[in-house]
Point group: D2
Chain length 262, copies 4
């Protein structure tokens, strides 16, 4: 069986500059997440980081990626706009994308949502309990109807996202807030999942339920159909090739064979 | 009664450079559309064009606009990115937006959708028939269950948009294609409507059914609630202000009162 | 201005048989809810109860109702199936419906959703906090971004509903659960809103925020367009009346003018 | 590999009473559809018909069915209400359902949608062209961006369905109408797909593209997770078992361990 090719992109800053984060994720958060994915025999996961050439997201690398996972926080602004467009095009053509935690404010997630993607927040190590709102959804396969994280950053509503295709998980926070913690979208022909847990100062990506969600989400986001080569194409259909026989009439802006305006 | 303040933005290029377009819309397409809106005693519509300073879309002007209508085609690329962001922020804060015809490829519509917004097209003056798929929806109030346009540009599926909140109209084309011709979205707290008819070489905006849709859409898109001043805000909720009493614990990235990362 | 004609349907059992409920709602819950609605000068609300002839929901009464609110709990099974179909038809034709609290298990709500509409529950007088997830939505107009009820019955996810058109409110419960407390649907051409608070042993319908939601929801659910007389009609379009000229060909099941199968 | 267990339910009336239909489908439409499914090595399809005991849909049979396909037309009214509820419960628990053509008016489809499911129709043997509106969706895997049927019954908008989760296919008809020909839903935890082609006097289910859609739809609708045994359960969560420690307070309707009202 061909494995799903996942790529975990990590900002990889706090792991190197903050002792707490380095203690929890000595090889980087991306490595920990990739390890969680590789525990499945249906997934083959690698990593890429901000610091690599082209942030590790070359055209070739993306072409070989079925599902991209994205974790970023303090360095959203350092991600090149050109790379963001490249990733957006890959998603539009069929690559899956899983945006993790503080990636709600990543350029790529905002680019794909078209909305502010803002929220309330509080860093207090409080308890979170995630409730499944779409039982038997592929993303929560094998999970109980809720699970807890002893400490998470509070992310609270209103969350500035478009109405989701499906709301899969909702989070309850000890301090009194709620959050749509797992939501799905389709952008172009690519599947997109946002998953809220994952603050870097807590061991969230070591949690077995979280790891199961990540593996499930990769399988859900994977589209086995061939990637669309040019997802922005807006083809002209000449009169002679119209499905029904018609004759052109009236004035025209465009000469024969001219491209449309963009 | 306070009227809804509509603003019709027109690219205003072909009206001045193409005889056919100038003949149909001697004062510009934007003027014709504004006239259609002003036929309602609940709407007060003005115009703005690409050629004006800041494309006529100053901060002040947008602050006084309840619903913006956008028609552009050959000059999408000339619209300033800064103005596009300004309009997006206004929509996120509650301004309605109605994207017309070739505005499917406008920067602002693509910015708000997050998808390619591409389609098939053919300029052959063929007949289109628009079918209402959401009867009694405010946008089709007073309209028959279908209406025809003798000549329209064919726009054909697949249309590269997110799954709509509601599909209100679907177009049938003489040459054999179909198109989701009227679709709704919410972006931030602003209402967005895309409406397909309106090729500049045909008298579409003189059609009474089209004009009725435009008036209805302005009323639908108008949100009477106060505009959100900073729709991108991501407020911190300090521990002391948490709705439930909690005590902070564990390590923290952020010092007291520090802003979040963006 | 013509007022919106609301009708509050109450099961009206516990108000007469349980001292606690009678103490909070001496004139019945329906009367309290109607009073809340009549505080708006745009709404004129009456009441109907299970015990009346045809449960107070005659054909004539429904024809004069723009929005029906439904509260029921212990007597769901006593509601006549014929009346349920009558109400469903009214909704399909354009009447708004607001299902309150335990009406999640009412015949009419289940009839319109097509799903189990089940949930978790606990009657412990715990605190609930409702969070707005769709700011500036008409249903939350004038409300803060969250509000509290000192005591409510816990209703918890998973809630067996179809994916909502919009999720407007999510509830946080002291005991650790969450719930999609305000969700919208369209059924036929009628607008449907489910709103979770309202357990009969607590003074929920005396709460000013709850009353504001109810008034807003009535305005949102009201469709000013004329009611569809026969929302189940499946009209034949004879060949001669096809929008495009075609000639009939091939075998047929139906004779000229015959009705379709049902 | 375990195959997906599909069950094709056929009304099986016109095949035995109408010469044209019998000529096209000598073994019944259900047999032809099952044959199309069995052409996949990932599907194992059987059949059931109206005339069998319990319409061939015993509790045991449904328990062994992953995806049920439903074709009915002239005998919708002969299907037992009890069996309809049984099927609805199976869908709510996770069985997939594919409603075919005139099954838009079947009891089970109306039961699951909660809407009239009505439409326009014309039996004239006209040409239909189905356009993919959700490219790379699993249901259209391997299909071109449109395909034609030389003769189909016209089904026209407005189609009285809830807003779909996804609109996958839209049909263009020679006589001038359009139709949402392929739409998805989730009901309970079961996946539901409606697919419009399939009038019994035309050889639609012999068409290779249609057969591919059916196979794809079976794979899409199949939920490999275990069926929910009691999809209507509404469990009480006693105070002692609340996820967060709380103390019961205030009046109660229900005694300890009492079931909720239905």
């Amino acid at each position: 069986m061909t494995k799903i090719r996942a790529l975990v992109w990590g900002e990889n800053v706090h792991e190197r500059t903050n002792e707490v984060v380095a203690g929890i994720y000595p090889d980087g958060m991306h490595a920990c997440i990739a390890e969680a994915l590789n525990a499945s025999d249906r997934i083959s996961a690698g990593t890429a980081t901000l610091q690599e050439d082209e942030h590790g997201l070359t055209v070739e690398r993306l072409a070989e990626t079925d599902v991209l996972l994205w974790w970023g926080h303090c360095a959203h602004g350092e991600v090149s706009d050109e790379i963001v467009e490249r990733v957006a095009t890959a998603v539009h053509g069929g690559m899956g994308l899983i945006a993790l935690h503080s990636a709600h404010f990543s350029k790529i997630f905002k680019r794909l949502m078209g909305t502010p993607c803002n929220l309330k927040w509080r860093e207090a190590g409080e308890r979170e309990r995630l409730w499944v709102t779409a039982p038997r959804h592929p993303i929560v396969r094998g999970l109980p109807d809720h699970f807890e994280l002893a400490s998470e950053e509070m992310y609270g509503e209103p969350f500035g996202i478009p109405e989701p295709l499906e709301t899969v998980l909702i989070g309850w926070f000890q301090g009194g807030e709620v959050f749509r913690s797992g939501v799905t979208y389709r952008r172009g022909v690519g599947n997109v999942f946002y998953f809220q847990p994952g603050h870097e100062t807590y061991p969230t990506y070591h949690d077995e339920n979280v790891r199961q969600v990540l593996r499930n989400a990769v399988e859900w986001a994977h589209n086995p159909a061939a990637r669309i080569a040019d997802p922005d194409a807006a083809p002209n259909v000449p009169v002679e090739e119209a499905p029904e026989k018609i004759e052109a009439r009236g004035p025209r802006l465009h000469g024969e064979g001219e491209a449309g305006y963009r």
